[in-house]
Amino acid sequence: MGKRVGMEVGIAAAEAVALCNIDVAAVYPITPQSHIAEHMADIVHDGRINAEFITVESEHSSISACAGASAAGARVYTATSSQGLMLMHEILPIISAMRLPVVMGNANRAISGPLNIWNDHTDIMPQRDCGWICMFAENGQEVIDMTIQSFKIAEHPDVMLPIVLNIDGFQLTHMIEPLEFPSQAQVNRFLPPRGPFVALHPDNPISMGCFNMPDIFAESMKVKETALRNSKKTIVKIWKEWGKMFGRHYKPVETYKAKGAKTLILTMGSMGETASVAVDEMREKGASVGLVKMRLWRPLPIEELRAAIRGAKTLIVMDRAVSFGGAGGPVATDIKSYLYQDMSRPKVVNYIMGLGGRDVTVDDFIAMTKKAVKKKEDTFEFYGVRE
């Protein structure tokens, strides 16, 4: 293991971007992403990297600036959170349809209202269907690693899609953790300069973002869907390459003491660490409990997920967002629809929890697990709501 430094994860995210030889950053500050924006601006201002930092007046502009710069062949980065991501929404599906490899860090935070600045996943879930690759980091080291990986994945000729890396707001962004940075030489070896498929240039005029008549729109959507679905192959390949170089291994679905477990807890993002402590405690008392962590949310890694939950009797899906008036949390809803045809599928218990920065402790995970095991059928409920 290389030298580790103590650093706030938001600052580390900006430092990771600085290693990636970016050309343009267009970032509008918003809590809890502000430290990424501020530190990114510092790095550019101090001349540490040869990049343009565009000071924009809103997130709609920051993502639009990224789209334009990316179309011109630049390697671009932006970061946002919550309401900022909501304001970007209009542009998100356009970027994926234009196949622009924009990389974004999203410091997950609840969406208004009521106004709340703390962590949950309600900001990313409404953007779920925008055609972006969507990943979750669990800790600070993963934020660094996955930020660097994201540029390589997004720009790969077999992918050419934007990526949003979800970094739990405060729970991750404001934590000071011991972190290991790859050297500039290592990153240069891992991440080649961007060679765009095509770029806007007066000498070679092309049209991007074209109009589609009804005769072709559905075909274009099929292309987008196929591109996103196929990206998993390249993502896995690049993660393997990273593992070989740095010894830290990444998979679409990761498991912890899950083999043969009767009950499985499924999490995304930073709560996986708390859940793993809960699993340890329950295992010590003889319970057959394991943990499944979904790193990749879009494209949904269903084959890997099926393999991870095979044989389990109860699957407890932890959702930090809710589809109001729908079938439950977005993660559970997706998984349940995939499992619908499986004869030996586990019972799926869905908890909506950890909303708007509500702490979910080890004891909470144990309590939820005990409760879930006793349930007779699929359910979804809010956990920890005072009655």
Binding site: A97, M98, R99, L100, M160, F197, V198, P205, I206, S207, M208, G209, C210, N212, M213, D215, I216, E219, S220, K222, V223, T226, A227
Partner: protein, 102 residues
């Protein structure tokens, strides 16, 4: 009224043939799409009434009206969508809209 010529292959046949991001690599190919086929009415110019003021040319949202060698402003029917703005703006009433169908 004769039928409009069908434009040759407008779209890729299969989804697999679509360029990434629907990028178009042939600049200016929008002119191959004859939007005049959308038209329900066509503008007809009475050169006896026309005073060659060019208001129709200024107002045409399609930019399909151009001055000919005699100084008259005439719509290119390959691209004219038949919106009728030229006829509406023409104060000497030299332009009238005529139904396309027989």
């Amino acid at each position: 009224m004769k039928k409009k010529k069908a434009v040759s292959k407008k779209w890729p046949e299969k989804w697999q043939e679509i360029n990434p991001g629907c990028m178009v690599f042939t600049p200016g190919n929008a002119s191959a799409l004859h939007t005049g086929s959308w038209r329900a009415q066509r503008p007809v110019l009475d050169t006896q009434k026309c005073i060659k003021c060019g208001l129709c040319y200024i107002f045409c949202p399609e930019g399909c009206i151009a001055e000919d060698s005699e100084g008259f402003f005439k719509a290119n029917l390959d691209y004219c969508k038949g919106c009728g703005i030229c006829a509406h703006e023409c104060w000497p009433e030299a332009i009238v809209m005529v139904e396309e169908e027989e």
